[in-house]
């Protein structure tokens, strides 16, 4: 899965249109978009969003080492690892290309109208704030577990 081979082209609606209508002929990169969308927002995304993600990756030229590419492939096969790897890398190597891919997906989702509600400010009820606080505790736990996991999976780079 080498994103550098993708040609960077300006996004055009004409290009998105067939995907919007048919949702077929997905590349590997397009297939990872719904996994990341589910991780980030708890909802899958449509084919147009996947294509936008693929174009953004190509345009930004995200390059992974062989080890990173292997880990990424494993994470995509087992998406439950995603929060741990993401959180662990956030502490160990915040600007890692793996996190860059998740970041790009997050930005792509933010500019899709169907997901705008997940990013724009809104009114929060008390119980929602409570849930958010609990989420914070869980995020800290993810980080701690993630650091250990990344050290094991990325022994050469981050292992002690």
């Amino acid at each position: 899965m080498d994103s550098t081979s993708l040609i960077s082209k300006p996004v055009s609606n004409a290009l998105l249109q067939p995907a919007r209508e048919q949702g077929q002929y997905m590349t590997d990169t397009q297939r990872e978009a719904p996994i990341l969308s589910t991780y980030l927002l708890g909802r899958t995304c449509d084919a147009a969003t996947s294509i936008l993600y693929e174009q953004a990756l190509g345009a930004r030229g995200v390059v992974m080492t062989e080890a990173q590419a292997k880990l990424w492939a494993r994470v995509l096969r087992q998406p439950r690892l995603l929060p741990f790897v993401d959180a662990g890398l956030a502490l160990l190597d915040r600007y890692n290309p793996l996190r860059q891919r998740i970041f790009i997906m997050s930005a792509v989702l933010e500019v899709r109208p169907e997901f705008a509600g997940e990013f724009l400010p809104r009114r929060y009820r008390w119980h929602e704030i409570g849930v958010l606080m609990l989420g914070g505790c869980s995020a800290v736990l993810h980080s701690l577990a993630g650091v250990c996991l990344v050290r094991v999976l990325f022994r050469d780079s981050y292992g002690r």
Binding site: A87, Y95, E110, V111, Y124, I129
Partner: protein, 531 residues
Amino acid sequence: MDAEIIVVGSGASAVHAAQTLVEEGREVLMLDVGVAARDDVPAPPLETFCNLRKRDADQHGYILGPRFESLSWGPTKAGAQVTPARRYMLARVGELTPLRSENFVPFESLAHGGLGVGWGAGSFCFTEQELSAAGLDPQAIAHSYATVAARIGVSRPDDSLIDECASAIGQFEEPLRPSRCIADLLGRFQRRRQRLTKRGFKVGRTPLAMLSRDRGARRAHAYREMEFYCDEERSVYRPWMTLDELQRMPRFRYQRGVLVECFENLHDQVVVSARSAGDRQPLQFRSKRLVLCAGVLGTARIFLRSNPEIRELPLLCNPYSYVPTLAWRNLGREVEERQLSLAQLSVLYDPDGTGANVSMASAYTYRSLMLFRLIKEAPLDLAYSRRLFQFLQSALVIFGVHHPDGFDGGRSLRLANGGRGLEVDFHYSAAQEARSKTRDRAFRKLIRALGCIPLASLKPAAGASIHYGGALAVSEHQDPRRTQQSGRLWGAPNVYVADGSLLGYLPAKGVTLTLMAIGDRVARHVARSLG
């Protein structure tokens, strides 16, 4: 003779100098690289930011950019907030006017309209003390403030700030309507006014170059929160708008694609040597007078190339930091559909009460800059960061803090790369660093008193303030590296300088309105010199 007067540059000071000269009946040729606005960034439909976000399937074009250029990865650098539609303002700078420095990261522009393309529209007059410290004649510049403010339209600041920020402006637009979050901060200041004023603070709504009523082709501001993405209906003033008007006038010519390199001052004329910005072919122009408005660094380049015996020039730049804060009472509250992205609140800090050494902070809300710029900075997984910042953003207020700068510490700019580029060495003195630190602490205390929690105090590299000055400061002594009150170079009587280079002291307030006033004032002298 190619023109009676040549004006170099098309930024805030250049267009007002040119306008005054044309109004005085003079013939003007403006030479400018003039990088044009990109035509590949789609213009957003005329809608509020929130509605566009919820409805426009093509918003990625103007938010992320046709080549996703907004998705920069790595630690946030100065300029990361520049949106795709404004990026042309920084284009070709590295290629045509390279700058080498280990401790100075400035913003320069070769765009049509100069750095004014991304101006935050804060329109401040300097006080008499500040103007005197800068070496300018306060009485003379007061008239020019009123002239340029009448041209561009400036919203009325709160009464508490009029004396310090807008005393020379005769006519105002209506005051801006602050967002609820900012109105809360203003309310808290009013309740603690006596105590905070005693500590040297004044807080009020910012004077902004935006219209509250329609005027010609410009429309009243509609609070759609799209100021970072487009110049919709020309509500917020930009120098290119004056340039557009000038181009319709018979005595004005605009020659784009010209990079001015140096001048030669002859007895009754100036010879201007330049290169085509495209094929780099040499070009030459002749005029009776030359007005340099290429920005402090651009003007310094031209001056140093024209005077090889002068090796280096001084430089001023405001110390700058920014403080992201949480106005926690607004957490989890809905945000109004219509609000402003520009600075809505200004804080002046004058601890010694003299009016001569004032620091200033401006407060911005965050929403229209998008969450993706924030979430990568948190040491948390991105899924939770998104949820967290969605919750926090209604309360997020960013304070940009500027301190004044005088000739202190080690600063110099000189030619490099065989005369093609500049090399800058820039250090604040230890005393100045200490003073900025003390004042930053005082600002953080005030921020707390206004009901905000400072989250960090971030100090970008020197140069990030985008306010520069002092390279060819006004002086009464006949020094070839200095200028007269009229803007005329002591060493070149047919050459005038009309930008921030004239300022021998750089107040903390936004400098753009003063640059326009300098343009107007110097232009009057130039016109008079021609009889």
